[in-house]
């Protein structure tokens, strides 16, 4: 089945220790998104890629970076995690043409714990 896969599902890192979360997709969608979701809150968009074009949200901290080496993979790098970065990180994909456009497919998420 075509899907969005996130690894690892659970990640524990130490305060200030860089961490990378990964996302892969078999949907061949050209748009990929990274969201941060804290407990009892809605997902908050961090950035997205349209093909290789990177689009950062204005309020995304510099501590968060992303890479998209090819259509299928996208990475979220947190350079110096703080306690406030503990959250669920969600990857999503969508296509920009055809119907239904903009329908976003979410992965299962990575639960990040910062100790």
């Amino acid at each position: 089945d075509a899907m969005v896969i996130q690894n690892p599902r659970y990640q524990v890192t130490q305060f200030g220790k860089p961490v990378t979360l990964s996302c892969s997709q078999t949907l061949n969608h050209n748009v990929m998104y990274w969201y941060q979701q804290k407990s009892s809150q809605a997902p908050k968009l961090l950035f997205h890629y349209y093909d290789k074009d990177f689009n950062n949200e204005a309020d995304t901290p510099d501590n968060f970076q992303s890479r998209r080496p090819n259509t299928s993979f996208c990475f979220l790098d947190i350079r110096s995690p703080g306690l406030g970065d503990a959250a669920m990180y969600l990857c999503a994909t969508s296509r920009d043409r055809g119907l239904p456009v903009y329908e976003q497919y979410f992965g299962p998420g990575t639960r990040l714990t910062v100790t």
């Binding site: 969005v4 996130q6 748009v31 009892s40 809150q41 809605a42 997902p43 968009l45 997205h48 349209y50 074009d53 689009n55 969600l90 999503a92 969508s94 920009d96 239904p100 456009v101 903009y102 329908e103 976003q104 497919y105 979410f106 992965g107 299962p108 998420g109 639960r111």
Partner: protein, 116 residues
């Protein structure tokens, strides 16, 4: 103007009852309104979506009602089941312009509990 306001924050319904969640938006440029269902520890899953050219869309027990003039839309879950217990998010999106490729603006979420 980019906000989507969702209510109620939590909802308790008896099995077989109707669950109703409401959302309101300000930006008339929004042209796509999805609802997502999220179970604990899982990613959101698209449940049903509507465009503003129709006033209602039904898929099984789930119906979206859309009122363009009032800038409101709602999710109705008929014959609610305990398995429907989850968090529901409404969202809104607009035609891509510039770099806004289908960016979703989410409501605050509603925690639905369906008692057996």
């Amino acid at each position: 103007q980019q906000q989507v306001k969702q209510s109620p924050q939590s909802l308790i319904v008896q099995k077989g009852g109707i669950s109703i969640i409401n959302c309101a938006y300000e930006n008339t440029a929004f042209d796509y309104f999805p609802w997502y269902q999220q179970f604990p520890g899982k990613g959101p899953a698209l449940l049903i979506a509507i465009r503003p050219d129709v006033s209602e869309k039904k898929e099984g027990r789930f119906t979206i009602s859309f009122n363009k003039s009032a800038k409101q839309f709602s999710l109705h879950i008929m014959d609610s089941q305990p398995g429907d217990s989850a968090t529901y998010f409404c969202a809104a999106s607009m035609e891509a312009g510039g770099t806004s490729y289908g960016k979703l603006t989410f409501g605050q979420g509603t925690i639905l509990t369906v008692h057996p």
